[in-house]
């Protein structure tokens, strides 16, 4: 009996230590690799899972929370690598076969943007921190090639923890880097103050230009796009508080040297909203001829790239007063895929109180709309949940579908692949219940990768995990 007790003590002690060590050092015991020829874990079987791996532990949010866990995914332009930026501050580089090449922690910085250089040799990482840096990491080993800070332009208040950060990064065909840096300050009287700037960097990190040259923009800039030749850079500004601002237009286009304003355009507010904002658009065509954008109030626009003329606008989710409150589905993403403009909408939104569940769902909520360039609606596709992220492939779009805050159905969470312009479902890989928060599709359409986040249901139970899923086309 004594021997049994001794053996049990040793076994319990060793297993406790091993479990603690594995948990603390993040050794991934939840990595699953799949045999592509055997598994059929997607809806149609066109794509097959290659890898599922937990990226770490994150805070678990519920349906009542407006913001959610984030993730960043980018396939390299040569379709050989996959860069992943996690909420836990890690940048991971995988091969498209699912092998981890390296992992690097960003330390104090919170990851806010991720992009590959067009030669697939470097990964560009944007972070929000005391210095708000843009970093270039070598794909081969993750070593840092250079970093550029934004705090000297945007300022920083370490006491109030209002830090600057690079929030969007794009590159042109020559490898020049265009990035938006911004800082946001919430004053004691709840008024918001914004500082934003557009930067252009050479591939070696040299700063080539900034817009505006002498001062910061007083608007919220979260997104930008550049044409392939690097001759036009389009971005949108927004302000969530009504007031008078210098950068009060909706959309701006500047030259490739980020010095001169080429054109700007605006749109009137839609009641009950007092401001108009494009959060995750605009998108420029590779030749720079068109720019597409969608506003939060549910209007989508197509502009001429040369002079900023509004070619057309469509309202896909006009705010409607129902039961005394205005409801609409927030516009989220806009992309131009070949000759079609693709727009997405999110959850039904109650302007009066976003935390209250809406009595009905807006019919156009959580959907994809495809227009041709003349403004004719070609197709649409109703998804069950919020389009958390969208990525563009060859005549395809990959979508990360997250929470539906009204229906609260976890079965809709997953990675969806649609054909454009047919809006036909190519495949859908459901998550383990957690909402999908990030997705990307490789340039050849062969690979799709996405990140799922855990979700706390109303009964307190938690479903899903913060993990990466990699799919390959059979």
């Amino acid at each position: 009996m004594k021997k049994v007790i001794s053996f049990a003590i040793i076994l319990l002690f060793c297993s406790t230590l091993v479990v603690l060590g594995l948990h603390i050092f993040g050794v991934n015991s939840q990595k699953k690799s799949f045999d592509v020829s055997e598994t059929r874990q997607t809806k149609t079987g066109v794509y097959a899972k290659v890898l599922e791996t937990v990226l770490g532990q994150t805070e678990v949010y519920n349906y009542q929370r407006m913001g959610f866990n984030k993730g960043f995914i980018r396939f390299s332009p040569d379709c050989r690598c996959l860069a992943v930026g996690s909420e836990t501050g890690d940048v991971l580089l995988y091969t498209t076969e699912g092998q981890l090449i390296w992992k690097k922690n960003m330390g104090l910085g919170k990851l806010t943007a991720l992009e590959f250089a067009p030669d697939s040799q470097t990964v560009l990482v944007g972070e929000t921190s005391q210095q708000g840096c843009l970093l270039s990491l070598r794909v081969k080993d993750g070593s840092e090639l250079w970093r550029q800070a934004s705090d000297h332009n945007l300022g920083v208040n370490i006491k109030e923890k209002t830090y600057p950060g690079f929030v969007a990064i794009r590159t042109d065909a020559q490898g020049f880097i265009y990035a938006v840096a911004q800082r946001y300050v919430k004053q004691a009287d709840k008024a918001s103050e914004y500082f934003s700037r557009i930067y252009k960097f050479a591939p070696n990190g040299e700063r080539l230009g900034q817009f505006p040259v002498d001062s910061n923009m007083d608007g919220w800039v979260n997104w930008l796009d550049v044409d392939k030749a690097g001759s036009k850079v389009a971005f949108c500004t927004g302000n969530f508080d009504p007031g008078s601002y210098q950068y009060n237009q909706l959309i701006y286009c500047i030259d490739g040297n980020v010095q001169q304003l080429l054109w700007s355009n605006t749109a009137e507010c839609t009641p009950p909203y007092q401001t108009v904002t494009m959060r995750t658009s605009p998108d420029l065509t590779p030749d720079g001829k068109y720019a597409a954008g969608i506003t939060s109030d549910g209007r989508c626009f197509l502009y001429a790239g040369d002079d900023g003329r509004e070619l057309w606008r469509r309202s896909i989710s006009k705010p409607q007063k129902i039961g005394g409150v205005y409801l609409n589905a927030a516009g989220s993403f806009a992309y131009i895929i070949e000759n079609y403009a693709v727009f997405t909408t999110g959850n039904t939104f109650n302007k009066a109180n976003w935390q209250l569940p809406t009595p009905v769902e807006q019919p156009n909520s959580n959907s994809v709309f495809i227009f041709d360039l003349s403004g004719t609606l070609v197709n649409s596709y109703k998804l069950g949940g919020m389009v958390e992220q969208m990525a563009v492939g060859p005549k395809m779009a990959a979508l990360a579908i997250g929470r539906n805050v009204r229906a609260k159905d976890p079965a809709v969470h997953g990675f969806y692949i649609l054909t454009i312009p047919e809006a036909e479902l190519v495949d859908c890989a459901q998550t383990e219940g957690g909402p999908a928060v990030a997705v990307d599709i490789s340039a050849d359409g062969r690979y799709v990768a996405g990140i799922e986040a855990p979700l706390q249901l109303d009964d307190g139970s938690v479903i899903g995990a913060y993990k990466l899923t990699l799919l390959v086309r059979r």
Partner: protein
């Protein structure tokens, strides 16, 4: 566990046995301060493993390892269980519901009983701290003659009374376990089975019937000890014997340890200033990044 030899220092020929007692006390103190300063689970886990590896180096007997493992396991699982249930900070993530809030009576009274992920992690971190201190304390106790400890402490100008109390405490520890063994054997010989059932009433009765005799015997011993030391003129006009020469290598090792500890304290202060938004050095970004992971 009830064997007195398990608790008392035994001579040995390992590096740790031959190390000067002052070196061992200083290592213990430096590590004690370090584990209080460090919040990183990685560093704490490595320090805990270091303390265990020192036991391997000291060739601790199997019985001693058993004692160490039992205490550490009680610490880890006790701390994790209590924190998992009562963790009150935010954010906290429910990983299991033990008692749904809708349960009549207790459910409504408690608002539900849950296991929180962050509580488990926090409990494990605290347990690693206490486990490291326990392992190091036992190592010092098992490899060092208490008289040497007392001499060293007196040599460092520790008041005689305090030093005496410390050493008496160390010496009493094995005595208490031995007394416990005697009481349990005596009760068994009378046909008493203390752990036959786990009813609360029965357990309380067991505790009373076990603890009172132990307490009585311990007090009796303490009274005898007090009378004995008083009769020998406790602490009056005592001139502590001179300490032997501190080996030069060990002395330098201890100094470098103290310098390293001062460095850790300085880094921790810098990290706290940064974290609380009071002072940030941009040129130190790389160091801050390392500190976030390891401190």
């Amino acid at each position: 566990m009830y064997n007195r030899d398990v608790w008392e220092a035994t001579p040995g020929e390992t590096l740790l046995h031959n190390t000067d007692v002052r070196t061992k006390i200083l290592i213990l103190l430096v590590l004690a301060v370090t584990i209080l300063l460090v919040d990183s689970p990685r560093s704490l886990f490595l320090l805990f493993c270091l303390s265990l590896s020192l036991h391997v180096a000291a060739r601790s007997s199997f019985e001693r390892w058993q004692v160490l493992m039992v205490f550490v396991l009680f610490g880890i699982w006790g701390s994790m269980t209590s924190q998992a249930l009562f963790y009150a900070r935010e954010p906290r993530t429910v990983i299991a519901c033990l008692l749904p809030p809708g349960t009549p009576g207790l459910g409504a009274l408690t608002g539900g009983v849950y296991i929180y992920r962050e509580g488990l992690e926090y409990g494990a971190i605290q347990a690693l701290r206490s486990g490291t201190m326990l392992a190091l304390g036992l190592l010092l106790n098992w490899t060092t003659d208490p008289r040497q400890i007392l001499r060293s402490l007196l040599g460092w100008k520790l008041p005689y009374e305090l030093g005496f109390m410390l050493i008496t405490g160390l010496r009493f520890l094995p005595v208490i376990f031995q007394e416990t063994a005697v009481v349990l054997v005596a009760q068994r010989l009378r046909g008493y089975e203390p752990l036959r059932t786990f009813w609360p009433r029965r357990l309380l009765q067991t505790a009373r019937q076990t603890l009172f005799p132990i307490l009585a015997r311990t007090l009796r011993r303490a009274a005898t000890l007090a009378a004995s030391v008083e009769s020998r003129g406790f602490g009056r006009g005592l001139i502590p014997p001179p300490l032997p020469q501190w080996p030069r290598g060990e002395s330098w090792f201890c100094r470098s340890l103290i310098i390293a500890l001062a460095g850790v304290i300085f880094l921790k202060v810098m990290d706290s200033l940064q974290f609380n938004g009071l002072f940030y050095l941009p040129a130190w970004r790389g160091i801050y990044d390392v500190m976030k992971v390891w401190l």
